[in-house]
């Protein structure tokens, strides 16, 4: 059962990932990104991370992708990519470097000695357990994160203000 869910979700994530980088239109990239995020939420459930899965759907799928779609529609004129290349052969070199990178990552992952998987208690990864760790052990980073959110809001407002015509 777990295997079937994993295979379907992993295939959907890979298809979405390819869709993100291969789609000609940004809207399709954004919808492919949504597919990746949704299938990753399923994988998080397989890994006993309920709270993170819910957070993924609410924050990523619900807010971030919608924001992307808004901006794509705002800028829909001339979002295509030009034919002229400023750096010739950049694409080929990029793909080769990425392949080397994947080979190194894969070699490391597949040859490293895997520690045995620990059994986890019931309720591992629930909102209660993550919240407990967050508020008991990581209160300061949590508060700093709220300040960063505030800075982000202010920055977005300032950047979005209409500039006076000079």
């Amino acid at each position: 059962m777990e295997l079937i869910v994993f295979v379907i979700a992993a295939a959907a994530a890979l298809a979405g990932g390819i869709g993100v980088i291969a789609s000609a239109q940004p809207v399709r990239s954004a919808l492919s990104l949504l597919l990746v995020l949704g299938s990753l939420a399923v994988l998080y459930l397989l890994l006993a991370a309920e709270f993170i899965a819910v957070l993924q759907v609410i924050v990523y799928a619900g807010a971030i992708v919608v924001l992307f779609l808004f901006v794509i529609m705002l800028l829909h004129a001339r979002t295509g990519e030009g034919r002229t290349e400023k750096l010739p052969r950049q694409r080929a070199v990029g793909v080769v470097l990425a392949a080397v990178f994947l080979a190194v990552l894969g070699y490391t992952l597949l040859t490293a000695a895997a520690p045995p998987v620990r059994e986890v208690a019931r309720g591992f990864g629930s909102a209660e357990s993550v919240g407990g760790a967050l508020f008991l052990g990581y209160v300061l980073p949590f508060e700093v994160a709220s300040v960063i959110l505030l800075v982000g809001i202010v920055a977005a407002v300032v950047l979005g203000l209409a500039k006076p015509v000079t």
């Binding site: 993100v20 991370a49 990523y60 924001l67 990552l105 993550v130 950047l159």
Partner: protein, 100 residues
């Protein structure tokens, strides 16, 4: 439970797809989405290791990554909209001047 290596390999492949997107695509929005793809790939690795070690800290880190990713998207998209307003382009090759 599934062997953790399968999740980690999936994470590595997704990260590489994001790298390819950043290196190959010239549309700033698609480059940005590829960065999100890489962030999500690392999140998957963190959650896998949290399950593997039976320690909740991995999931706490993912929580912070999601928060910071939200801020990053808001500010980044605001910058892209601003560049589009002044230059009428979202092609990263066309934005090659230091002056505004």
């Amino acid at each position: 439970m599934m062997p953790p290596a399968s999740f980690l390999v999936l994470s590595a492949v997704l990260f590489t797809l994001g790298v390819v997107g950043v290196l190959v695509r010239r549309n700033a929005l698609v480059v940005f989405m590829s960065i999100e793809l890489m962030l999500n790939a690392t999140n998957l690795a963190f959650v896998t290791f949290a399950r593997l070690r039976g320690s909740i800290e991995g999931q706490v880190i993912v929580f912070f990554v999601i928060v910071i990713a939200a801020v990053e998207v808001v500010v980044g998209l605001a910058i892209i909209v601003d560049i589009f307003r002044s230059r009428e382009t979202v092609n990263v090759d066309d934005v090659d001047l230091l002056r505004g």
